[in-house]
Structure formats: C-alpha cells, structure tokens
C-alpha cells in the first residue's frame, strides 16, 4: 500500500514539476500560471462559502442528469433487448443523440426549456445512449444455456433476473459508466460555461475567461478534474455495492454470504 502511494505521489510530482517548468518557460502568469499560484488561489477559494455553494449546485444539476441518464439507459436497454420492434423504433433516436453536437443540444434546450436545466439534460444525453447500448448488449449476450437451465429448474422470473440477468449485465453496465461519466461531467460543465447559470462552476470559468483571470481559470479547472474523478469513483463504488447486494441475496431476502 505504502509503495503504491509513493509511486503515485512520485508520478504526480513529476507532472507538477513539468507544469512548473512550462510556466517558467512561458514566464507570464496571465498566459500560464505556475502550480503554486493555482494552489494558493484554490486555497483562497476553499475558505469561502460561495465555493461550496457553487460546487454543490453544479454537482446537483449534473449528477441529477447522470442519474436520469442511467435510469433511462437501463429501462431503455431492457426494453430494446426484449423487443425487436422497440429496438428498431428507438435506433434512429439514439443515433441522432449520439451524433448531434453537444452545443446544438445546449442551445436548443435553452430555446425550449431553460438555461438552468440545460447542464442536467446534456449530462443525461451523454450517459443515456452509452448505458442503453451496453445494458441491451449485456441482456442479449446472457448465456442462453443458463436461461434454459433456469427454465428447466423452474426458477421464478425475479430469481432469473437476480441470479442470471443482473450478473450478466453488470460488467457491461459498469463499463458504460466508466466510459460516460467523465464525458457527461465535462459536457455538463461546458453547458454551464456557455449558458452561465447564476451559481455554477461554468459561470466562474466563464468569468475568469472574460476578466483574463487565468489563475482562477486554472483553479476552477482543477476543481472540475478532481470532481470528475471523485464522481466516477463514487458512482462505480455505489453501483458495485448495489449490484453485489442484489447478487448475493436469494429469494426471501435472506443474505447468504
């Protein structure tokens, strides 16, 4: 464990050192601030209440969008796995969502709904098609021999879902989370930067750009990166725990391991 921490600390130090060297070579804080200046600014921001309010509201919008995208993706994936008609029906819609530029969606949402919910919907639109496709693939790739075994042994529908379908889908589902969460977070923040909801990380980044406060821009970008990693890890841990709970429980709710 200590060896691992030491290794990753060293890697981080090398990258920060590289950042420092570039900052020294550029020689102008306005163009490329040094890591220390960014750390100091981050420290200043972190002792204000507004910092947490800003992060909280951005998180609320984007995580709500991610959660909605996951829910829609799961339901849609299950539906299209079982129905060829539904698969054909939704295929064009999913293709459109996947290939339409995010900015087009952002401006359309502002036009149709409101700028405050745009980051939420954008995050959902990034996550939905990825989770949808993977859940569908997971269902379709479920071992038919195991399903036949379950039918022969008269397993109930809920037991089949719990003991066969869920474990079969889980790897596909987690892969879709890993692939889409980071993208959704970044797209949500990008929507905020374009639409500047009153209290948001996007507004802080946008203000920093307008007033040429490059140190602030870097500091808020660091916040976005850290939150991206934290969200991804938390979501994967949360869904793994949920799946594990589901997978290790038999009929009647009795925990067996």
């Amino acid at each position: 464990m200590m060896k691992k921490i030491l290794k990753y600390s060293l890697i981080a130090l090398v990258w920060i050192g590289l950042w420092q060297l570039i900052a020294m070579a550029v020689g102008h804080e306005l163009l490329f601030p040094a890591p220390w200046a960014v750390a100091v600014r981050l420290g200043e921001l972190m002792i204000t209440l507004d910092f947490y309010k800003t992060i909280g509201l951005s998180l609320l919008r984007i995580v709500a969008g991610i959660a909605a995208g996951v829910a829609i993706g799961i339901l849609g994936g299950i539906l299209t796995a079982f129905s060829k008609l539904a698969r054909d029906f939704f295929a064009p819609a999913l293709a459109v969502i996947k290939s339409t530029p995010v900015v087009s969606f952002i401006f359309l949402i502002v036009l149709w709904i409101s700028r405050d919910v745009a980051p939420l919907i954008v995050a959902a639109m990034i996550v939905t098609p990825v989770v949808w496709a993977n859940v569908e693939t997971g269902f379709l790739n479920t071992d038919k021999a195991l399903i036949e075994m379950a039918n022969v042994y008269k397993m109930s529908r809920s037991a089949k879902i719990k003991h066969i379908y869920l474990p079969s889908i889980a790897p596909y589902f987690f892969a879709s989370l890993r692939a889409s969460l980071g993208m959704a977070w970044k797209a949500g923040v990008a929507a905020e930067v374009l639409l500047v909801p009153v209290i948001s990380i996007g507004k802080m980044i946008s203000d920093a750009k307008i007033y040429l406060e490059t140190v602030d821009l870097f500091a808020w970008t660091v916040v976005v990166i850290i939150l991206s990693v934290v969200i991804e890890k938390l979501m994967v841990v949360l869904f793994s725990a949920l799946a594990k709970k589901g997978l290790s429980t038999l009929k009647g709710g009795e925990k067996i391991d």
């Binding site: 195991l146 075994m149 379950a150 042994y153 003991h163 997978l247 038999l250």
Partner: protein
Amino acid sequence: MTELKNIRKSFGNNVVLDDFSLKLTQGSKNVVLGASGCGKTTLLRVIAGLEAIDGGEMVRDEKIAYMFQETRLLPWKNALDNIRAVLKKEDFALAGKYLATVGLADAEKKYPHELSGGMAQRVAFARFLAFAEATDAELLLLDEPFSALDKETATKMLELLIEFSIGKTLVLVTHDEGDIAFADNVIEL
C-alpha cells in the same frame, strides 16, 4: 406415465427422430445408448419438452427433473448457492445435504472456476437431486451425467442415482455400456 407416439424431429434437412415411439412405464429404469450424434440428447430434450416436435403425439409426466450434459453452473455463485438458487427458501437444507451426498461437503464455498470438471459435474448432480426431491419429480432425465468422472466415482454416483430413483421413472443417456446392468429397458438409437 410418459409416452411418445410416431415422433418426428429434424433440424433442417437432418432428420434425427423419424416415426419414433416410446413408452416409459411408471418407475421404469431406461437407458438410452448410441453413438455420438445419433440423437440421444435430442430424444431427452424432446421428452423434457425442451425441443418442439415436428410431428407425432406425446404424453408426459408433469414433474420432471433434468440434468444437462454440461454443468450449467452459475459462474458467480459458489457450489452451495448454485444449488440454493434453484430451490425455495424452505428447501435450502437440501443443498448442503446433497453436496455432502456427492462427497463435496468441503467444497460448498468454492466457485465453479475453482472446481475440477468432475467436481463441477457432481455439484450439478447434487443440484439435480436437490431439485428432484424438492419438487417430488416423477420423471428423472439425465444426459451423460457422469461423463467427466473417473470410473470409481462414476460407479458410486450411479448407485446413488439408482437408489434415489426408486419409485420414479428414470431415463439415463450414456455412452457407457457398463451402465445398462440396472436398466429395465435399453433404448438403442
């Protein structure tokens, strides 16, 4: 009682069963013999209702227990939970009982990938026995259930099966002619 009359079953142009008739009297012990690919598994699957027939008539017992040629264990569950997964909660005790019966009491926490081919087959056999007891199955259908076992263990398991099947109808698919000694009826395909 289970009866097949003039059954026809084909896969594309390949006719596997043609005008095939069979009567399995209650409590009879039947062995199906034949070369690989002659249709033994298809016959068993037809009897179990796992394959739709192209023609003929069939009457069969309602309570069936079936053991597949492959183990079909759930890879994410240990041996004990693989058996429990096909049982109702009130029958969970049967899982431990039959794992012990097939000599795998010590392996109940092992996952399929940690078991040898023979051990996995015995877990599948224990699951079959537990399910058959729990559902009071009248017709026992087994497709080469001991093919991965050494001769000595296979003989023990066969004795166990014969004892278990008293009063029940048994159909055993095998390629081992040594298994026919106990049979009332040998079906050669």
